[in-house]
């Protein structure tokens, strides 16, 4: 009897049931690991694995780029969907692509960019899968105008807890659709999706850069000017204090047209072949990220940014995915890993944002360039993170003294301001904080209970934060 397999390799059902050795898994932050039975899966035999799954439940995992424990299921089964971008179907009339959920944005872009299409939303790394992008309802630099990933999904093919396969969309089974968008893999397995792509003339971006001398300045610049740009993001130096508190570099832009290209680029306007230049070795015994090294880096980076420059041409990878040039950079934080803290506060709560920025600056925590974005309207998904307001994301070594207490304090500021935390990044907060931050949690749970009454889909994150019981 065979249950799960990949490229024809069958795995016996009894193996799926209980006996596969556990392998340790963590998220990108390399904290809070657990052991799961990890198996490759294909859409053909996923159903068997789910129906015969272990008591501890089943979870889909993409490329493990969520920072905490979203993509692991201690003691249970974790399935990684195989898929190839070569099989994606691009409909040039509607600008839609139908693609397997296990395919990465990296692979997809290599197929679609030369044909003139970009993904509607990209995170800061292209090494995420379509399944992971939907399950976290990811946002990009265009959220203020174009919303999050789920806004651009027309249709999802998914496998439910009872082994049946359904096709859903915003106009077809909207309850399940919106519970799956941002649902962190806890409603079922996304197998395939149809996505509305952005037509592009070139594989370049045209970018304006501005330096902001403090927090007040950056918020004003973004408030007043973001609507004129498709993409906008600010990098804040969280280690700067006093009158430099919140100093930032704002980059905004759009896809470049052929007419905007000059010189060599015009010969192959849609050439696209981004590379990983170097990789961090598997074992870094101690964190090389510390207060001194980060302070120096942030200083250098701020000084090198132009005061004001417009119309610069950047590559897609340079503009959207600069971190991807270094493979496995998360290892730089050493064996104890790091935490990404990402929250949002609604517009009108800028004081809360200022207090948090001050707190980080005062703590001296080694935080690389933090990312500030201005969110636009939210979508109907009950667990979707973005909502109108400011979101700040920053990385800190988890061994930083007193970090846990500090984050618990900051959580309170965020929640009192009516904000919340991003599940895809979370590795520290509490069920209570999630309940407060996501007032529609019960609504989501009701849909989940309807489509997964016996709790087949489970994750460490779901258990830790009380999303599931």
């Amino acid at each position: 009897m065979a249950a799960v397999g990949c490229s024809g390799v069958a795995v016996p059902v009894d193996v799926v049931n209980k006996q596969v050795a556990l392998s340790p898994l963590t998220g990108w932050g390399r904290t809070g690991g657990s052991g799961s039975s990890v198996l490759p899966a294909s859409s053909a035999n996923l159903g068997d694995a789910v129906v015969h799954g272990p008591d501890r439940g089943v979870l889909m995992r993409g490329l493990g780029r969520s920072y905490g424990d979203a993509a692991q299921n201690g003691g249970g089964l974790v399935l990684r969907l195989a898929g190839s971008a070569g099989d994606a179907i691009l409909d040039e009339a509607t600008h839609r692509v139908t693609v397997g959920a296990g395919v990465s944005i990296d692979d997809l872009l290599r197929v679609t960019v030369p044909r003139g299409y970009f993904v509607p939303v990209t995170p800061g790394t292209r090494f995420v899968t379509i399944g992971g992008a939907i399950a976290s309802d990811i946002h990009g630099k265009n959220h203020h105008g174009e919303g999050s990933f789920g806004n651009h999904v027309q249709r999802i093919t998914m496998l439910l807890a009872d082994g049946s396969t359904v096709e859903i969309g915003p106009d077809r089974g909207p309850d399940l659709f919106w519970a799956t968008v941002g649902g962190m893999g806890l409603t079922g397995a996304i197998i395939e999706a149809t996505i509305q792509m952005i037509p592009i003339e070139t594989s370049r971006c045209i970018v304006d850069t501005t330096r902001a001398h403090d927090l007040e300045h950056i918020l004003t610049l973004m408030d007043e000017g973001d609507h004129r740009y498709r993409y906008s993001v600010a990098w804040i130096d969280l280690m700067a204090k006093g009158r430099h508190l919140g100093r930032s570099v704002l980059t905004r832009g759009d896809h470049a047209t052929v007419a905007e290209l000059q010189g060599a680029a015009t010969a192959s306007p849609r050439a696209y072949d981004p590379r990983v230049i170097a990789s961090v070795p598997p074992v870094v015994p101690l964190s090389v990220i510390n207060t001194l090294s980060v302070k120096a880096f942030n200083e250098f980076w701020f000084r090198k940014a132009p005061m004001y420059r417009t119309g610069e041409i950047h590559s897609l990878a340079g503009f959207f995915h600069p971190l991807d040039m270094v493979g496995a950079w998360n290892r730089l934080y050493g064996p104890r890993g790091f935490v990404q803290y990402q929250f949002l506060v609604p517009f009108g709560e800028e004081e809360a944002l200022r207090r948090i920025v001050e707190r980080f600056a005062a703590s001296g925590a080694a935080s690389f360039l933090a990312v500030l974005k201005r969110f636009g309207a939210s979508n109907p998904a009950p667990l979707s993170f973005p909502a109108p307001g400011w979101t700040l994301a920053l990385d800190i070594p988890s061994s930083f003294n007193g970090l846990s207490d500090m984050l618990h304090d900051l959580d309170r500021i965020v929640l009192d301001a009516g904000g919340r935390h991003y599940l895809a990044k979370d590795s520290h907060t509490t069920p209570h904080a999630i309940k407060r931050g996501y007032p529609r949690l019960a609504e989501w749970q009701a849909v989940r209970d309807r489509f997964d009454p016996s709790g087949v889909w489970r994750s460490d994150l779901g258990r830790r934060l009380g999303l599931i019981d």
Binding site: G29, R56, D69, R464
Partner: protein
């Protein structure tokens, strides 16, 4: 499930009235913690500990547990899991020191002490490990002792039970490699606690708080053994290798 800082949501203390155990629990609780279960021979004896630990959003309960009744251990662990779900940290803090002079003439009393310190820890440790494997995570903290590192004539029944316990705990930790579960062996020297009340303190004596501090630090950094105080580790490297004739003549009490 523990969070990124190794802060547990659920803690089980075996030996719910133990001074050292309670100090460790005290340092492990954080706003993340949801459940603390104190397992004691007499659950009502845990009332003061429950009162001291209680805080908003966290439930502290006590439950009956007898280390010298291995037949009950699997069911005991299952009961705790039914009550609180996954267990993140289990601390094996029960134990009896006994009196060597009594043991010399009372083999039954000696075997009872060994049953608690070693046999009981083996059976409950294995039941916990089974649960850890099921959940794919968990940390078992085992209170061993320097007394087991090189067994002395003054307390060789106790010392030998700790030597057995220490070996068991190390082996269990190795066997759990890759499952997501871990074992931390804690080797304190003389600790001022109920167990040692009235005894003359040995050199480098320490406190339950200091043991707790070192234990929590070792848990967070993923170590497998910790000595408290740390200097004992080096002292015992020497003691362990002393020829028997010399060792026997040392004034070690």
């Amino acid at each position: 499930m523990q969070n990124a800082f190794g802060e547990p949501q659920t803690i089980l203390l075996l030996g719910g009235t133990s001074d050292i155990g309670r100090a460790i629990v005290g340092k492990l609780v954080s706003p993340t913690c949801r459940n603390v279960v104190l397992a004691c021979r007499t659950p009502s004896a845990a009332e003061p500990a429950i009162a001291a630990l209680r805080r908003d959003g966290m439930t502290v309960t006590s439950i009956a547990f007898d280390a010298s009744a291995p037949l009950t251990h699997a069911e005991f662990v299952a009961d705790v899991v039914a009550q609180v779900g996954d267990i993140d940290v289990v601390i094996v803090a029960f134990g009896v020191l006994g009196d060597q002079a009594t043991f010399d003439h009372d083999p039954v009393a000696a075997s009872e002490a060994v049953t608690i310190n070693y046999v009981g820890a083996v059976s409950v440790g294995l039941a916990v490990a089974e649960q850890f494997r099921k959940q794919g995570h968990g940390q078992l903290v085992v209170l061993s002792s320097v007394a087991g590192e090189r067994v002395r004539k003054s307390n060789f029944v106790y010392g030998s039970s700790k030597a057995g316990l220490d070996g068991f705990a190390q082996g269990l930790g190795d066997s759990l490699e890759g499952t997501g579960a871990k074992v931390l062996v804690v080797r304190p020297g003389f600790v001022h606690s109920a167990m040692t009340a009235g005894l003359a303190a040995a050199p480098l004596s320490t406190t339950p708080d200091a043991v707790a501090e070192a234990t929590v630090k070792a848990l967070r950094s993923g170590r497998r053994t910790v000595w408290v105080p740390g200097a004992l580790r080096y002292m015992f490297i020497v003691l362990r290798h002393l020829p028997g004739a010399v060792f026997r003549r040392l004034p070690l009490g």
